[in-house]
Amino acid sequence: MKNYRVAILGSGNIGTDLLVKALRSESLACVAFVGRSYTSPGMAKARALGVTCSDRSIAYIEEHAQEIDLVFDATSAKDHAVHAPILKALGLRVIDLTPAKIGSICIPAVNQDSSLGSDNLNMVTCGGQASIPVAYAIGKTHSEIDYLEVVSSIASKSAGPATRINLDEYIDTTEKGIQAFSGAKHTKAILILNPAVPCIDMQTTIFAAVRNPDLDALKSVLDPIVAKIRSYVPGYRVIVGPILENGRIVVMVRVRGRGDYLPEYAGNLDIINCAAIAMAEEFAKEGRA
């Protein structure tokens, strides 16, 4: 039953891809697609799909709060800092797709159940969604991680203006996320945009410097986690490792998207949005409470 009412705030690449996914969902009803300009490509797409649109941003949400159960914030870190207290005062549940770090960190494959108690979920970053499950598995199987690093490469075309202007926040939020879930003493995140044509698929490498690496134990914990991720992001797969190379544990994952709004190469868009939709559907199961 499509009866859990969601609104999407932000009409860029992320918001528009979310819209396509929400419309496909069996339990979500997209009641509003809200941005700042009717001329954006995302807004045109939403109107073509017959979804209620507004160019009045957060003001529209404030006026229609009674008709909404959950808001996806797909604007920018700076904007979410403004939106978060307003949405809280309205009593609306929020899934934040910006790297604002205001809500509690949510990685469905790792902490879905404990996340259901929060009214603001932060989906970290695309690189965080791809790497944190691996970082978590390394943390589970190694008592001391001196250092953990994640490097993501994404296609230039998959990074819109908000993603680009949020680069520093992306790095900071991803680093804090991998630290929280792995227990590593130090963490680092790096993001590379590659303009190659045809576009490259999103790819993330996790490097770890640990005492006494145990690849078999890591693999046994990682495999079921990867299976769980694939249940909501079908295009996620491990392409290298775990291996030990030059004294480091190396795991590489690749994410191919479903090609909903941007083409399949934009796995970065897909993984964070699939995670957000998976959580919204969990809330829908719980009802509107």
Binding site: D172, I192, E245
Partner: protein, 341 residues
Amino acid sequence: MSKAVNVLISDPTLRDGNHAVSHQLTREQIATYCRAADKAGIPIVEVGHGNGLGASSLQVGLARTDDETALRTARENLPNSKLGIHVIPGFATIERDLKRAMDYGVDVVRVASHCTEADLTERHIRFCRANGKTVFGVLMMSHMIGKDMLAEEARKMENYGAEAVVIMDSAGNYLPSDVKERIDHLLETLSIPVGFHAHNNLGMAVANSITAVEAGATILDGSARGFGAGAGNTQLEVLVAVLHRMGFETGIDLYRMLDAADLAEGELLKEHPRISSISVVSGLAGVFSGFSKHVQRLAQEFDLDPRDIFFELGRRRIVAGQEDLIIEVSSELAAQKKAGL
């Protein structure tokens, strides 16, 4: 009376050279070379990890000397020369890295991106300008796009507040005609000075740098003895000698420059930069020079021909900062080899 400087030299010996020693330059080496460079009157001395500020990593290589130590040491030993840094957004953030670098006394910030991604530099460039620093925009791997797109990206950097734009031939792939075409078009498009940074994979570093100056570029990068990634950079003491012979003024004392180069050879270099066979392949394939050490290591680990790895990296159009992809490509090539393909 000294003549007005008409070619500004920026010396990345202690930054690009770090690639050649897997980022192992020590505090003492930094101090020694800075003193010599300062005596020679080199206007800008760039210091840091090979990929710049905040780039010490498992991906590219862990630096022996952290940013703070390296920059403070350089500052103490550069009474006259300006202290420069290379900053790649995606590696270095404003909060974690750039703000601190300013406290260490950096004068010139060179904010770099892959040649098509200039918009990633906007916040960093604006931040440096707002803090009164000299800022250059740097477009890396510039051989990967044509002159029009390159000028468009450079124009963005100018709009953000860059006071000059430097294009890098990071793979050492250019021939003089490629350089001339791009510098000509940049100068037509921009109203700020233009610079050039060469690598010597195809033996063209000095020739390409001279071509850039003749086309109107006014900033050139060069390293003592060519100490830099892959086949090395433009050999600075040679460049200065050639520029002076051509009648250009750099403000650099040639004898002391030669002394600094001799000192670099004795104190910094593990091996003399040379155009090895795989550097030729790397230049032809248009692959980032800094990958050289990684490719050699992985070729050994996976029992592969490093030339095959370079050509495959070139085919995939890998950009600077994607060292992890060398692992993937190597493991794939090894699997193919095993399957007898």
